[in-house]
């Protein structure tokens, strides 16, 4: 089956929408009940911004976008340049190796450090 340019555009737009919805739905399932949830419309914007940020770092897997979106919600939309632990990971990165998981684990460690300090 051959698709013309318009049909291809519709297919890619549908794929993009489905992908964003998948990430958004899982994000809301886990972060929706927390205090970091900014509301659905803004969270969807965060997912889109996370997709762009992931692409800037040559990552495009949905799980990577999810984790970047979660860190943007939990820390800030520019956590990658603002947070020292995130900058260290960027500095130590080799080539285009995916770093979302490293960021995510470092973010969890940062939160846990605070939690432990408050016990």
């Amino acid at each position: 089956m051959k698709l013309d340019a318009h049909q291809r555009g519709e297919v890619t737009a549908a794929a993009r929408d489905a992908s964003e919805r998948r990430i958004f739905a899982l994000l809301r399932q886990h972060y929706g009940p927390t205090q970091v949830w900014p509301g659905d419309p803004q969270a969807l914007e965060v997912v889109r911004a996370a997709t762009v940020k992931a692409a800037d770092y040559a990552m495009n897997a949905e799980r990577d976008v999810f984790k970047i979106a979660a860190l943007m919600l939990s820390f800030s939309d520019d956590f990658d340049t603002r947070e020292p632990w995130a900058r260290e990971i960027v500095a130590a990165r080799e080539g285009d190796a995916p770093i979302a998981e490293l960021w995510y684990q470092a973010g969890i460690a940062e939160v846990r450090r605070y939690e432990d300090a408050r016990r």
Partner: protein
Amino acid sequence: MSGTGNNGLTAPRFTWDLLNPNTSGQPGSFTGRAVSPEPVQGQTNRFSKTMENAGTAADQQLGDKPAGGDCATCPPQIILEHRSQYTAKTRYSEKEWVVASKFIFLVGKDVSRSFRTLSVRVASPEGASATWEVTPVGTHSGTIPKRTGTGNRFDYTPEVTNAQRPITASKKPNPPVQYSIKATITHGGKSHEIVEVVTQDERDIIRQEYVDQRMWRDKFTLHVPYRNHIKATDRADLRGNYQLILDSAMTELLTATEAAYGGRVHVSSGWRNPRRNLAAGSKVPNSNHQHGGALDMQPIGQRDMRGATRRAAYLRLYNAARSVRSRVVLLEKGPSAVYPSSAAVPSPTDKMPDTNEDGIPDAATSGGSKVESLFDIASHVHIDRAAPDEADDD
């Protein structure tokens, strides 16, 4: 509190203040209650545990699927492809247009005396138009009279002079010819810039030497070699100025000679790239050493050999080389032959005895000199085979 990210979003920013349970923060902010050690409002997990669970769920449910597809908010994936007259040949490339890492090219004048033209195009987004700017990297890459343009494709013609190219005697490798290509693409109402550098690989650096010499060296007529004749080797004594060697017949001649000789021989000179050939003091403009079709060989340990022992070793090597299919075998002292080309050395007979047992009759002469004395002064045995006709490659 809100973050002030570069994309203008207002996602909350994590600060210790936000984590203070006595501050409420603005709606959507990450408050202390979220990470409080004590569960709140039915939340049984610490926030770090929530993050862990969410990460695991993302790995399991989302995985490696590409996000966004052709996401409207994402920068487009820009792919440039390149073309030269060599990528257009199926011998070298499966595709006419290739990405930079697979791009092979030469610069300078071809057999029609025209400077070679290189091309670049936007492969993705398909059909996109770009504003182009091509800049030579290093003086040795020449100049480009018309180095800017617009359109999906841009053709550029580097011009090089003998003053710009490294063409004199040297035992060091040449640097690669390189061009930095900047493409500015307008897509989705935004401007995107990509910079790519195309670089000659070692095979093309070697081939470029032949183009250079053909353009500017008197009487140098050797053609530009095929890429598939430029090979890796684990024999350092076959190398010129590069890790790779040009081997049109060299290994075949060496293997056959060693088989006939009955052991390994030392190669005192194997492939000489043109600049190394000059550095070696060769007076032969088209020496077949430059085409990987010639070898200078010595018996292993010949430096410690004297008299009849040395002559016998050289005779054995000379005869081994003569048994191999070749164009010529020469007994040489430096660059000069001391014995007639490929001529047989007479065997000892009762009438022409070999009292010192070097295999050469004591009384044998050639050109008025004793054959034994010619073997005494020999520095190597040269063997070569004519360079293949690959003229269509240039």
